[in-house]
């Protein structure tokens, strides 16, 4: 049935809840575990949500200049590949699995980790590095991706993200 509305039907873009905030804690350094946080951060920013990412422990590999472009995916300990676990331990298997995953990611137009971080920053996202992880790994701001705003303590991050919804990955 066709109805004619007296007032125009317009998407409710004006009603964006500008107070919404999202905090994402990235604690893993495997290629497959880097993407969920990046994809969700990107999506949140595209919806006008203020977004902060905190990189901690193994998640530091995502912002460490030496490792960020070289994250790996392994079948070992990952039953979701539905392959015999022993296969994953064979020489070269991690390199092969990583190569395959990178190819699949590229095929759907999703960028590699460094470029994805840049896109997030260009979209207004904030990147923070964990003080304890930096101290443990003897890393300083110069060792980290340039767009990381600062190395901050866990308490600082909690303060910055007051009122935010939180994701731990």
């Amino acid at each position: 049935m066709t109805t004619t509305q007296p007032t125009p039907i317009v998407p409710a873009f004006a009603n964006v809840d500008t107070d919404r905030k999202l905090a994402i804690i990235c604690s893993k350094g495997n290629l497959d575990m880097a993407y969920p946080g990046l994809v969700l951060a990107n999506a949140a920013l595209g919806e006008g949500v203020e977004t902060h990412l905190f990189f901690t422990f193994w998640g530091f590999d995502m912002i460490n200049k030496k490792t960020m472009a070289d994250l790996k995916f392994t079948m070992l300990g990952n039953t979701a590949t539905h392959m015999p676990q022993a296969l994953g331990g064979l020489p070269g298997m991690t390199a092969m699995a990583t190569h395959q995953m990178k190819k699949s990611i590229e095929a759907i137009g999703v960028p590699e980790v460094p470029e994805f971080l840049q896109q997030i920053v260009d979209s207004g996202g904030h990147l923070w590095a964990c003080r304890m992880s930096a101290d443990m790994q003897h890393l300083e701001e110069d060792d980290l991706y340039d767009a990381v705003e600062a190395i901050i303590s866990a308490a600082d991050f909690i303060e910055i993200t007051a009122g935010a919804q939180l994701l731990f990955i």
Binding site: I9, P11, G46, D122
Partner: protein, 104 residues
Amino acid sequence: MPTTTIDGHTIEVDDEGFLLDPHEWTESLATCLAAQIGIDLTDEHWKAIRFLRDDFAEQGETATLRRVSVVGGIPTKSLFQLFPQKPAKKLAYVAGLPKPHGCV
């Protein structure tokens, strides 16, 4: 499906207000749609809108922001300035296309 009238243009839209038939779109309609969401179209806006229209005609689906920046050559930062807060959806709306389905 509902029809709605915006500045004298009567169009068929979905429940949210997105144009149902991309062929009903005209440049003058785009100006009216943009005004509805508080955007005054400049040449920069038009560059993005034309890319989205052309890309949709070729690909059959609305480009994601990433595609607009990588293939369309319009930097992500500019897209957020031109169509604040929800650039992908606002751009699709003004271009008379469905919301993008891709995640990135």
